[in-house]
Point group: C2
Chain length 305, copies 2
């Protein structure tokens, strides 16, 4: 089944100690859509300026991604982000954020998309997430992402969004900030009281866990020899997760577990190249091979008692 993905479509300039790229294709909706598209058709909602290139549109268009919800604003420029990573790739410094078209963006679901069953609200202003939720008509399964900027800046709107979504993706430092708890599982448990029935805490190189009222699933990260650029890893995780879950068609624990591994795998591919170079060029078989290596990495048989 289709997944609606709402988020940013951007030009990213990225510096690492070894390399840099200028105005590469980026943005939360782009990474999430590419990651999801290997398993489910995607309906992308976002906005770009008139400077957005046909080359980048083609990258999305060649995949199973419907860009009918991608607004192109004449006379304005595409969202631009510039960041720098240190020798420790977990340390990121934002150098430039030009909102441009994003400043006045109001996401609109194209006709026929209001009844989509699967919706992922990537990390954008919670007011826009709320706008989008108001347009959904068919009680979809909704996941959302957020970040420290909104937790500090718009806590009330964010709380309203959390009351209405089924799943929250959040990283370790953000879940501590949002919950006030230091221990990550206690922190995630606090989030369950805020609305979502599923919380996924992403811990970067330390993997991720999924918590519900009565279940816990833990996965390590896929071990990488060549972590080049973690930009978009979290968005790819969410996209890979949603693509798998929508393809499975329900949120039984078994499917949530599989989706966690697909998320982990898609995030790992993203980290191995700059921008979307890797994640745009995969096949489902390559993805599944890494999925199966993930299963092997942790596999132990039960003991007889």
């Amino acid at each position: 089944m289709s997944v609606v993905i709402v988020g940013s479509v951007a030009f990213d300039s990225i510096e690492t100690p070894d390399r840099q790229v200028e105005k590469a294709l980026g943005g939360s909706a782009v990474y999430a859509s590419l990651a999801a598209s290997y398993q489910s058709p995607v309906r992308l909602v976002g906005v770009v300026g008139e400077d957005f290139t046909q080359e980048y549109i083609d990258i999305l268009d060649r995949k199973n991604i419907d860009i009918g919800g991608l607004e192109i604003v004449n006379g304005d420029k595409t969202f631009f982000w510039k960041g720098r990573y240190g020798t420790d790739p977990n340390e990121r410094e934002t150098l430039v954020t030009d909102l441009n078209v994003f400043e006045n963006f109001k996401p609109v679901l194209p006709e026929g998309w209001e009844r989509s069953k699967w919706v992922f609200l990537a990390n954008i202003d919670p007011e826009l997430q709320m706008d989008l939720l108001d347009q959904c008509e068919n009680d979809p399964f909704v996941g959302c992402d957020t970040m420290n900027f909104w937790i500090e800046g718009k806590p009330k709107v964010l709380a309203g969004v959390l009351e209405r979504v089924n799943l929250l993706f959040i990283n370790d430092s953000e879940v501590r900030q949002l919950s006030g708890e230091t221990d990550l599982i206690s922190a995630a448990r606090e989030i369950l009281k805020m609305g979502p029935e599923i919380v996924i805490v992403k811990k970067g190189e330390h993997g991720a866990f999924l918590l519900t009222k009565d279940s816990l699933f833990i996965t390590p990260a896929y071990p990488l020899d060549n972590l080049l650029d973690p930009t978009g890893a979290g968005d790819s995780f969410a996209g890979g997760f949603f693509g798998s879950l929508a393809a499975a068609g329900d949120v039984k624990m078994k499917n949530l577990r599989r989706a966690m591994i697909y998320g982990t795998v898609l995030a790992s591919f993203t980290c191995e190249s700059f921008s979307v170079e890797n994640i745009r060029n995969l096949t489902l078989d390559i993805i599944k091979e890494r999925f199966n290596r993930m299963v092997d990495l942790v596999r132990v048989d039960k003991e007889k008692i």
Copy 2:
């Protein structure tokens, strides 16, 4: 098969934000021996002063632990350690370290123990680890632990020990220090060049991984609701690992994986109480139940390709 365990036997005074204990039973050999004893007979080598109590000897004696290698030095005092944990239990401050009997300790294998097949050298001066290695006659499987203090203070002796052991247990910050590599798997790979054919990197709340030349196994930590006192967690991990491995009788990957989970489980029990309160009162069935919960936490089926 029996496991020889060499390390410290100590009085520990521990402060946490909520509680404190005075002169509780502690020491690397104590935690490791108790943890191992649920699956294999243990032969403990260590030293205490005349102030060591019968009560503490009884705790070891009641288990499957032969204390024939525990030297009691009249006229001297037992090794004493005092530490304090902050609200973040990963932050530990050492307040007092009185070596006492440990200052002049020379570990001696009692007659008949030289041909033991399984040897664990807990975290002590690498010169003592070397002494002990010189007494082994039967080409045993040897694991050792170490710490930042020896990596800085006795790098050459430590290098000599590493050339002669099969397995190194080491934590995340120490493996970075010893290897000069930031990435943990790259760091562990460097250690494999120093001698051991197996490296186990312990990452506290983030779990642990085991690396050999051609295998990698990853496990998360057991999620704890009530982490009280992490003192001895690493030693319990190593003990649980060795107890399981010696019981299995060989170092096939399947048995190394099982041993990793037993190590993880025993470490988790240690963290749930002060001193050895929890780890001295377990049963193998209780341990196996938690083992099976660990298996459930990460279980995913492979995908068909």
